[in-house]
Each structure stands twice: as C-alpha cells, then as structure tokens.
Symmetry: D2
Subunit: 262 residues, 4 copies
C-alpha cells in the first residue's frame, strides 16, 4: 500500500477551500496535510476557524488540523490555491518561487504568458508551458490555473468542433446562479423578479480564456485561437446547483451556444 501525496490548501477557510477539502476527503492519491488562511484564522483549529457551509460533514481529521500562516515555509510541495484574485496575484508567485507546485482556482494568473490555463480533457499539452516559467528553472516551483467556470463548460463543447471543423466565431450567453457571486454576493433586492444582465469581468474572462484554452502552444507561449467571440453573462434568480463543467461545484451555469451552419 502506497503512501498518499501530502497536499496543502491555500485559502482553506473560504467556500472554494472547503470544496477542495470535501473533494479530497477520499482521494486515492492526495491527502490534505496543510491548511493556510488569513491572519484571522492562523493558529486556530480549522473546525473553529472555518464557517463550514457545505452539506457534507466537515472531515473530522481536517477539523482538528491547525491553520498555518499563508507563507511557503512549511507548505508541502503540492498546493491547491483558493484565494481571491487580488491576494492570489501576490501569494501564488511567492509559493511558486519557494518551489511549490501551485494549482489554482483563482483568475489572477490565468492570462499570464507562461502560465498554463488547462482543462485536462481539452488542452493537456499546454502543461509544457510550465518549463518556461522562471520559478521552475530556479526552484522547481510553478503555477497551473483552471478556467473560469463559464468558460469551462463552453470549451468542453467547443473543443471537438474546433478540432474537426475550425471555429469562425462564437456567441455565448450565460444564465448564472447567484452562488457564483459568493456570500453575501448578490442582493436579494437586485435579483428577485429580475435578471441582471451584467457580471463584472465575467464576459472578458469568458472571451479571453476560451481563446487561450483552444489556442496552440508555440515556443514561449500560447497563440490564442483566432476566432471572434462575444460573451453575454447574466445573473438569474437561481440559488445554486451542480454544474458538470465547474470545478468549484457551486455555480450552475447555463450556457447557450447556438450554431449557424454556413
């Protein structure tokens, strides 16, 4: 019987951090060995520090773990990151520099030139970009990002079409659950009896990430797929749900992508 690989979770007390803990609980390869969060939680038992919001119980072993400071010292080699974008922009490079393999759910570095943005079923070859990262050469550390959850479902559907036929243009419209905005997130006065035709930065993310995900790797970076794209993102009065293509599992996105044959 083999030993599992110890992994850390950066931003462990937030809702995405909790999802990491939930999904790794019975994982055959990985075992949560280190939890880090903000100063407020540092030094406390995880079960006290986190306001657990998931329907499955908090794993007993994890609840008793002590929350570490969000610093690379003491972190295991593999770190799953679940930080807000603004904090991620600062901390993720620091962990990579210290030699960590940072796999992140944050949008901070997704569009960075030598950082791979990966959906394993779609563009695993982009992982070669890791070799271009200066962190990799110096310390062995690196950063890999996943995509915006709205882009994820869309790209899974577009990838085989793109491969077989080539795509000229994409128009995508989403209707997204309020859970995607976090908590407290969307005010009830804004969404009851309403549709909000705007989600900050979501349309930009969908447009640029879709093209990077379907792009081609050359020497030092990704050449984005050359098609035109227009994304329209709407918030609807739907609580939440399971979304097939969504790594955090809390944001139901309904993408409509209609084709026009030529």
């Amino acid at each position: 019987m083999q030993t599992k690989i110890p992994v850390g979770i950066l931003g462990a007390t937030g809702i995405v951090g909790q999802r990491f803990i939930q999904m790794l609980e019975h994982h055959p390869w990985f075992e949560v060995a280190w939890l880090a969060a903000s100063d407020r939680s540092e030094g406390r038992e995880y079960g006290d520090a986190a306001r657990w919001r998931l329907k499955t119980a908090i794993p007993a072993r994890v609840a008793r773990m002590q929350v570490s400071p969000a610093k690379p010292e003491g972190a295991p080699t593999v770190v799953f990151a679940a930080l807000d974008a603004s904090i991620a922009a600062e901390l993720e490079p620091r962990f990579a520099e210290a030699g960590c393999a940072v796999i992140t759910n944050s949008s901070a570095l997704r569009m960075t030139k030598d950082v791979p943005l990966v959906i394993p079923e779609v563009n695993p070859d982009h992982l070669k970009l890791i070799e271009c990262q200066s962190w990799k050469r110096k310390s062995g550390g690196f950063v890999v990002t996943n995509s915006n959850c709205s882009a994820m479902g869309l790209v899974l559907a577009l990838a085989p079409l793109h491969k077989r036929f080539g795509i000229e243009a994409v128009m995508a419209v989403t209707m997204q659950a309020v859970s995607g905005a976090g908590y407290p997130g969307v005010a009830s006065l804004d969404i009851l009896g309403n549709v909000i035709p705007y989600i900050a930065k979501e349309e930009e993310k969908m447009e640029e990430e879709t093209r990077k995900l379907l792009g081609t790797l050359n020497g030092a970076g990704i050449v984005p797929a050359p098609f035109k794209m227009s994304a329209q993102c709407n918030r609807v009065a739907v609580e939440d749900g399971t979304s097939t293509g969504c790594s955090d599992g809390i944001n139901r996105v309904r993408s409509r992508c209609a084709g026009i044959a030529r």
Copy 2:
C-alpha cells in the same frame, strides 16, 4: 368635434382583450363599440363576464356593455382580435370575409402569404399586401397581424442595421417572464430556482417572423430577408413587466443580441 371610429374586440374577456380595452379607453380616434367572446360569456354584461386582471379599473361604460357572440353579424368594420391561435385560425378569416378589417394579436395568420405582418416603425409598406387578399376584393375585409413580442423588440433594433449594413446572421437569446405564458401558465415547481430553456414554438416564431418583418415586398408576397437566424428562448423566474416593444404589455422580454464586427 369629430366622431370616433367604432371598433370591436374579438376575444374581449381574455387578458389581451382586456389590454385592448385598457389601451383604447382614452384613444383619440377609436371607441370600443362591440365586444365578443365565447359562448360562456355571450349575452352577459362585460363586467360580469370578464375576470378583470389589470391594475387600472375596468372602464365603467365598457363594464355595462353586453357581450356579443363571436360572429361577424353586428360587428363594426374595425375589429381588434385577441383570440387563441387555434380559434383565430377559424374566426379571423370569417370576419375578413364578412368585410371586417381584422387587426390581430394572434399568431394564426402571421406567416400566411398574403397577410401582412407589420411593425409600423419598421415595415409599413407591407400593408400593401392587403390588396392581394381575396377577402379584400370580395367584401373589402382584410387581416393584418402584429408580431410575436420577442421578435418585436429584436426587429426594432435590427431594422436600421439591416437597412444600412445588411445582416448576415442573427443569433438571439431571450429570457422571458412567466406572464407571457398566460394564466395558469408556467407551474411554480418548474420555474422556482430554475430557468426553462424552452418555450413551445417561440424560437420558430422569432426566426420566421424576423425574416418576414425585414423582408421585401414583391408582387404577391414578401421575400424573407435572406440572413440566417438562430433564436434561443428561455423562461426565467420573473413575474412580468413593461416591455417597450411588446404590444400586449404583459410580457417582459430581455433580448440579447450581440454583434461581431467582421
């Protein structure tokens, strides 16, 4: 001081019939002079026969009018029709044959070859089609239709673009209020916490009506605008609202129509 033109309302007890009454109450040209509905209401006072659902009060004069049978005998020359499509398909031609000018909100005859489908701001020239109607030649009667409410808002936006630049393809996505499905309409179990990505016949109507509305008149009919179109219609958990481009005033449609410059 001029006399107003007497008009009739066919299907006067339904919600669309009520809207006609409401909107004609202080009309400078027209005066409601005849109300017709199904056998169930025939012979009763309108105020008793109709279950008035609008927020403004039922006009006192109209409330005391007697409901006539839905037959052309006794109807005035101008008739606004607010019947369900299946009944309209049978009754509207009968009224036209008897010499009535039938202006209808129903979808029954919208795509009929010699029946104009008109948005006055967009294609008033299509009214010339009236001259091709056999009813017109025989009795002077005719039928004019308005469009599906989702098509209406879209076409008002597309028309100047089509005129100035020409349109190659249209992809439209709607999020429509439950009021558009009438009463009882959408079951609450289906729409609470949900989006329903299907409205029966709505996508077909949007696609074919948009092309007819933007089409060009030739001899005996309309040549549809030649662009490709894909409509995606969704029902969302929104009660109702005022829609600028919607003649019945009870169905808030949110159309998103994004353009991709070439």
Copy 3:
C-alpha cells in the same frame, strides 16, 4: 432468514405512490408485491406507466412489475394507499371490506368516527379503534390513516406539552412549499414575488386533525382534545424540501407555534 411481508400500493403511479416505492425499496419487513393505478396505467409495466419524478432511480424490479387494476381482487393483505381524496373515499372502504389492511395517506377517512388517525410517536393507542370497524368484524379488513403533513409536525411538538401541562388554545401559522400542491399545482404568476394566504381545506384539516390526534379514546370513538385552535396556512415561494415531520417527504412546512405563558 425470514420472508418479507408482501404489500400493495394503491395509486402507485402518483407522486405519493412513488414515495412509497422509494421508501419501501430496502425495507426490512415489507416488499412491494402489487401495484395498482387508474385504468390508464392498468396492464402496463410500471416503468412505462409512471412518470417517475424522484431523484433516486426507480427500483429495477418494480419498474418491470405490471400495474394491476384498482380492485381488491389479487391485492395482498397489506395495502398502502396513495389516492386522491375523492377516489379514496370510494375505494378504501371497498378494499377494507374485502379484507385488506389499508394504511392510507389520503384525507378521505381521517375524520371518520371509527377510523384511527395516527402518529405512531403520539397516539398509538388509537389503533384500538380498528376493532370498532364493521369491516374488521366481517372480513378482517380495516383502514388506518396518517395525518395532514402540517398537523403532523405541529402535533409532535404539542403532544408532550399537552400531556404534561394541558393545552388551552393553539394558534398555528404555516408557510408551506409549493410542492405540497402537487404538479402543476400553484401557478408561477400567483407565487412569484408573493405569499398566498390561503390553502384550500388546509386550515380546517389542521384544526380538526390536531384535536383528534391529541384526543382520548373512549368506547366507540375519539373525544377530541378540548382546546380551541386557529390555523393560518400560507403558501410561499419555496420549491420543496425535506420536512422532518412529513411522511411524504415532499412538502416543507414551517410551522410557528408560539406559546404565551400564563
């Protein structure tokens, strides 16, 4: 290893019938052996006849069973009934007369003098009423009813108070999910952005059933608990949920029962 008791389900294709099948799937004592429904389903395979609406899969063995006519011939001795009240009023006595033990979720016979209305944790002694039923004496058959789901949760809370202190008066207010009205049930136009302060017959049921459930058995019937009671039942824009005190598991009731100490 013992043989399980074969049971029948009357009204098996409806949503409550489906719940019976779901909850009996791995039952240690009972095994579904007979399914009956209306003429429309009779003779068909259950998997075809029922429009399965539950989240757990339809049990494979049950899906292949043939639906029997809703007649006592061929029914096993124990029958769980899930019929609409109007049909139950006619069929349940017929099954009891034929010797069946009918345990029913319907309201039809709940208030019948010699029919026990039972919450097992509260008034199991009321089951002695079975002996008073004429069916019992003739054929051995009988009818036992469960309570309205709003009464159920309330009575579980009231029972120990009633036993220890006695109750003078009860005022109960409920906020009930739309699932309780079945499908299509509540129209979305009625409940979106609204509370409906009326559920047909629900207040009457809560008031009379609560008093019967907490009543005392004497010779030939139940003397209702002597307190006064006022129930106010409201429908709210909540889909559905698991309700602890609700046997059908599909109707989340939130009862508020506030006490005033004297």
Copy 4:
C-alpha cells in the same frame, strides 16, 4: 394664498429620506426647505449626492438644493428625521434641544418614557406627552416617533377590538418583504427558495411598541396595555410592495392575527 410651512429632512439621501421628499412633493401644507445628510454628501447638490432609487422622478427643485451638514444650525423648526437608529439616538435629542420639532421614522427613541409613539388614527392623545419633555420646556423643541411598520398595521386592526372588548393576549406572525432590510440587505443566497424565520430586533419592537401604542396616558408617561404578546417575524422572498399600514411605503408586511373567541 397661504405660505407653506418650511420643513427639513434629516438623513435626506437614504431611501426613507427619499420617500419623505417624494411624499412631500405636492403636499398642501409643507415644503421641503432644508436637506441634511452625512459628511459625505454635505455641500453637494442633492441630485448628485443621493442615489435616487424611487420610481417617480426626483423633484427638480429638490435636486438642485444643497445638502446641509446634519447640525441644528440653519435647520427649520419642523424636521422629519430618517436616520439609522444608532445615529438618531445621538442627533435627534440635539435637534430637539435646539428647538426643532423632530418627527422621526427611527426606532431610537420610540420606547423613551416621555417620547410619544403615535399612530394618528389610534392614539393621538399620546401627543400630550410632548409637554413632559425637558427639551420642550427649555427650547420648545420635541421628538415624536412613528412605529415599526409591522406594529403599525397590526395596531390599526387591534385598536378598535381593544377599545370595545379589551385584549387578553396577542400572537402575531409576519411575513415581510426583503425591502424592509434596506439595500443590500438580505443576501439572495439566504432567501431564494427559503423563508428566514428571524429578523433582528423586529419581534421585540412589535411586542413592546404594540403595548405602548395601545397604552394609556397617565401623568408622566404611558402605561402599556396589559396584555401578553408574542410576535414571530419572518422574511420571505417577496421584493417589496405597498403596505397600507406602513408609513415608509416600501415594506410589504403580511400580518396574520387570528382570534380565538372565549
């Protein structure tokens, strides 16, 4: 033609302040002559400082008025106050001390011994309490409060019953719209598909204010009505609405108050 009475609005930029402006726009007696708000708005034109959220247009004259600091200097004699409770507790006494007649929507001083809590249709005689206020004797200023909006509707219904029969006990349950929590207020994740059985301080306010409103005036204060009361306040997924008994007009409360005859 008479001159209107100049009035000031304290807390003019908030939603309740906006309602005061809206409702005073065509008032036959009063004219808005002074607007005060927090430091952030001070010195700016009201039209710039306020994020106007009402459906009627901001009155043009008011939009051009300059926002004054929230200090008694320069305020007119009559001041309508629309401050948050914590700020009102500090500022309202200061304005009264300076000689202003402060009529307030805040809960800060409602239960203060010599401050009248008044519903004009119910207890106008309580206004005599004004004479007991030390501010009155010194500067002529005073404070009068209105009630919690949930108490208001309830008390209008209870008052005649209390007068004619006397009330022994009251149990009230409310279902309140999210607008009552202000903006952003209730998180959509908390209320979609849900009922929240708690509104901070609302039950306490309803209970104590109802008894004060129906209390009797004696020498130096109000003897609360002697009945027992239990209030249960719930938040439901309803946006907002016009509530007959609710002075701010933005919070639809549905009170259920059921009686039990003895």
